[in-house]
Structure formats: C-alpha cells, structure tokens
Subunit: 350 residues, 2 copies
C-alpha cells in the first residue's frame, strides 16, 4: 500500500475507531485509581494527568492486534490500559528529567506540583500499571498473565535504557552522536514500549503459544521510528497550539534528534564549535536567538527536510512490513485499522 | 522478653547471622544487574549504589520468617533480594525528592549523577525488583509467585502513599501535624515495605494458604515505628561519621518527625510563629543558626527524650507481639534471630 494522506471517509472511520479504543481505555484507566487517601498529594494529581489522555495509539494498537489475530477487545483491555498507564508514568518522569514546563497545552506535573510530588506520582502510575496486568488473571489465567508481566518487564527496562542514553548524551554534551546511535536510542526509548510491545502483547493474548511474537518487532520498530522522528519534526515546525508543547523545546532541552545529528554531520568545523558551545550550556543560559540560529542552520542544511523524508521512509517500511507481520490473518475491521493508523500518524499535525 | 541491650555473645551471634543474610542477598542483588549497555549512564551507577548495601534488615526479616515457619533460605531468597532492590529504588527517588546530598557517607545518586539520571536509575531498580519476583516461578510456581506480586504491588502503593503525605506536608508547610498523623505517615512510608511485608512474604512462602498473613501486621508496624523513630532521633543526635548522613538533615529538609510534631504541640504561640516561618523557607534560605535553634528547642522541651521513649515503647510492643505472631512455631536459630534483631535495632548508633 503506498503512503498517502487518508481519504476523508477513511479518516472518519479511523477516527471513530481510534475514538472508541480511547474511550474504553480512558474509562478503565480512571477506574483503577484508588479513591482513598492521600488524594490531594497523590491520587488527585495522578487522576487529573490521566484524564488528559492523548490519542491512545498504544492501547489501540494492542487491542486491534489482538482482534486481528482472533482475540477480543475484552481480552486485551487490561493490558492495553496498563500500557497507557505506564506510558503516563514515563511521561511524568520524562518531564522531570527534561525539566519540561508544558505538555498537551498544560503545565507538566512537575511545573504544577513540584519535582518531589511528580517523581512520586510517576512511581504510583508504575505500580498501578502492574495492578492492571494482575487484573488479567480472572480472564486470562496465571500462565498467560505471567507472560504479559514478562513483556512489561522487558518494555520497562528497554525504555529506561533508551532514556539513560538520551539523558547521558545531553548531560555530557555528546556531539559525536551518529544516525545509527540515534536509531538505537529511539529503538529503546520509543519503539519497544510504544509499538513493538503493544503488538506483541495483543498477539500473545489472541494466539498464545502458537505465535512467534518476534514477528512484530520489525513492524513495531519501523512504525516507532516514523512516529518519533515525526514527533521531533513537529517539535520544530509544528503549531504550538495544536502540538501542545513549546516549539523548539527539544533544542532548549538539548535533545539529540535526527535533525541535530544531521546538523552535527554537515556543519563546518567553526559552526560545529558554536553549536557545541551552545549545546554545552545549561538550559537557563540559552537564549531565544541562539535557539533560532540552530533552527535556521537546520533549515539551511536541509536537516528538517531530511528528517521528514526519513520518517516517511520508515512509515512506508512499516506499511510493507505490515503485510508480512499481519499477512496471514483474515480480513477484519481491526486489521484494516492498523495501516490506516500509519497513514494518520505520519500526516498528523499534533 | 524485656527490652535490653544484647549481651556481647548474643550480639556476635546476631551479627554473624545478619552478615550471612546480607552476603547472600548482596550476591544475588548484584547478579541481576544487566551486563549490557548502557553501562555508563544506567547500570554502572545502579550497581555501584547496590554495592553499598546497608545492614539488610528487610531481606533478613523475610528469610528468617520463612525459615521460622518451616521454609528455606533458598525459597525466600529471590523475594528477599527483590525487597532490597525496591528499597534501593525508594532510597534513590527519596534522595531526589528530598534533595539530599549524602547517604551512607557517600554522595547520593542525584548529587553524583544529577537528577535526571537518578530518577531513571530508580525506575530501573523498580523494574529489576519485578524481574526478581518473576524469578521465583521455577522454584515456587505460578500461583505462589502471583501472591508475591500482589504483596509487592501493595507495598509499593502504601509506601508511595506515605511518601506523598510527607512531601505534601513539607511543600505546604503543614504545622498542624499531630502524633496520630505522624504514626499514620510512618505506617505507610516505612512499616509496610520494610517490616510488615518482609514478614508476610516470608510467611507466605513457607506456609502458603495455611497462614493468615495479617498476623504479622501489628508486629511489623511496631517494629517499623520503633525503627523509624530511632532513625529520626539518630538524624538529630547521632555521630555523622557512623550514621552516614548529615546530622540535622531532617530539619534542613523540613521533615515532619515525631520530635518536630512534639515541638509543634509544646511551643508557645510566639515560638510556633518563629518555627513556622523557618519551616516555610526553602532549604537554601535556612541557616545553620536556625537549625541549631530548632534542635535546642527540641532539647529544651524534651522532644528528643520523648521520641526515644516512644521508640523504646514500640520496640517493647514488637517484642511482646513477636510471641503472638511467631508463638506457634518450633524453636529454631532463625526464630531466635528476630527478637535479637529488635534489641539490636533499638540500640544501634548507625
């Protein structure tokens, strides 16, 4: 299937489908939050954060994959919700680690409640994701639930490994990061937990031991890489109102994105020196003029266009890989949802 | 058994016993750390932190309880190590939340590696504690392992609830905290994960469904309260070299301890006003003179002596409760270890 924007009818179907997955996920997400004390310093901010759930790509992918392989929405729901919960835990800690002020057009947890409470709320989200995994037992049994725990354990460690690389490169102002390093970073930081594991867990629940879950890895990696690079591009050229985060925020935070890696590679030695000097400063000492200069350099060297092209290539590769990873399943609504999701994701503006 | 310092022979036996539990725990703790990348920004600092393991009260209590109820060290080991791992995760995030510089005579993770990497390392310790729980399956089977997961889920949430109270009271400068509030705080923050659950999990592994695990709750609570109050006292009057943390650190951090709660209650209105003003300042604006004044006030009002007396009462209550919770088990080396541990704990100077 060639990569193109969705026809308006397809877009409507996709949005309705995604909206349904989002609705069932959000309801179950809020239902697992304890109603006891302490509300003010823990469960109230936690619940408020969850209530601003995004598009719900991860639970949608998990449930749709389960359905495509013959399982039901009900069977996949607890795991899908656990994925959304752990995603929120990562976001809250991510914002502490990056010292971010704004997400989804709202102040981050740490901006609103301070670093100590934000770290603690993220930890509680982590614990609640495990409760959700456990709640699979009545429907799926001990042995299958145990396999899901293992998938979660793997996705947690991979994501934290990717995060460690990103934080370390920023802290030590590493300006020798290559494109291969960057892809390794996003494989760990994004692809495992956001795309590979949601598919793996959906497939696992539907087909249990009859399916080699590694069949989803390439597909999830390609989709994740397309998503992350697109996300980084939107951080630079998006509309702040729609995107919900500060434009250029990644540059303020010193994140190693594909555009920055491209700029490292193409800058002249003297430009690289200026860039290194800028990247070595603490965030508070960076000026808006300097950030604009970095963006201008990226534009001049075609770094942004390059990243857009790479994101599109990954999206196309994901579409191709979809026919392999999901090829032997019967046609269904859920099955046709997944490639549409790739089209939607790559053409999104927020 | 009356509360008294241990005879030197008993102290030697206790220390050898505790040292053995510590040795087996530390070896298994280090063995679970992944040897792959990224070492520099994740697994190396994580492993280094684990290598400075303290006395190992939690794993000791878990293994000794399992043995007392007829189980083996081998059966309890993975869970004991998981308890030590999650304890380390709490410590690392605790130091971020409290902005602490020093622990066990060493710089904290955040002082050495920065807040972002410290938050991420704590998250990875959390994930590794779950891996350790999962590693119970070959020896204990799915169903019992699942019960251990549930115990962990409960201890995580209870601890985070306690932590939320502590952080919230500091942030909002709550000076109306009562002794009952304080006991509620340490029940959640300390007692569940450090004392009640280690006993519960040890008993669960040994006796499975034949034991009502709630039998350990009072014992663990009394022991935990004695431990925490003693710890808070040492933070004020201990020897910095032996104790390993900054003396008066809790006052610098604004922590609501039993001494502070006692001082709130006994201060004159004008003294309370000064105290509230001091407690309302950010840490960096507090002076050593002010901290000394608070300690002097605590001494003048007998707040420290009061806390020591309460800690001793809890230790005595733990000893009395021990004969109920463990009373129906046959005599054994492991069984006699536990009350000795209480004597040791309450007379410790570090």
């Amino acid at each position: 299937m060639p990569l193109a924007a969705l026809a308006s009818k397809d877009l409507e179907t996709l949005q309705a489908h995604l909206g349904h997955y989002r609705d069932v996920t959000l309801a179950a997400l809020l239902a697992v939050v304890p109603t006891g004390e302490p509300q003010q310093y823990l469960y109230q901010p936690l619940k408020q954060h969850l209530s601003h759930m995004g598009k719900g790509l991860r639970p949608a992918l998990c449930i749709a994959t389960c359905q495509t392989f013959g399982g039901t929405e009900e069977q996949a729901l607890k795991s899908a919700v656990a994925l959304e919960m752990i995603h929120n835990a990562f976001l809250v800690h991510d914002d502490v680690e990056d010292n971010s002020e704004c997400r989804h057009r709202r102040p981050t947890m740490q901006a609103e409640h301070g670093v100590p409470i934000a770290v603690n709320v993220g930890d509680a989200m982590n614990a609640l994701s495990l409760r959700l995994v456990r709640e699979n037992i009545p429907l799926l049994g001990h042995s299958l639930t145990q396999r899901i725990y293992e998938e979660f354990e793997h996705l947690m460690l991979k994501s934290l490994e990717g995060q460690a690389l990103e934080l370390g490169w920023v802290r030590d102002n590493r300006c020798d990061v290559s494109e291969a390093d960057y892809l390794q970073l996003i494989l760990h930081k994004t692809c495992w937990y956001s795309f590979m594991h949601p598919c793996r867990i959906g497939g696992l629940i539907a087909a249990q031991d009859t399916l080699d879950l590694d069949r989803f890895n390439k597909f999830g990696y390609f989709m994740g890489a397309a998503f992350q690079i697109q996300d980084d591009v939107l951080n630079l050229v998006g509309d702040a109102q729609r995107y919900g985060k500060e434009i250029g925020g990644d540059i303020w935070e010193g994140k190693r994105t594909l555009m920055l890696v491209h700029l490292f590679k193409h800058s002249t030695p003297s430009e690289l020196e200026v860039l290194q000097g800028f990247m070595g400063k603490p965030r508070t000492e960076r000026s808006a003029d300097e950030v604009s200069w970095v963006i201008q350099q990226m534009q001049d060297y075609g770094s942004i266009d390059y990243a857009i092209a790479v994101a599109n290539q990954f999206a196309q590769a994901a579409l191709d890989e979809f026919s392999i990873a999901y090829g032997d399943t019967p046609d269904s609504e859920a099955k046709s949802f997944i490639p549409k999701l790739i089209h939607y994701m790559i053409s999104r503006s927020q």
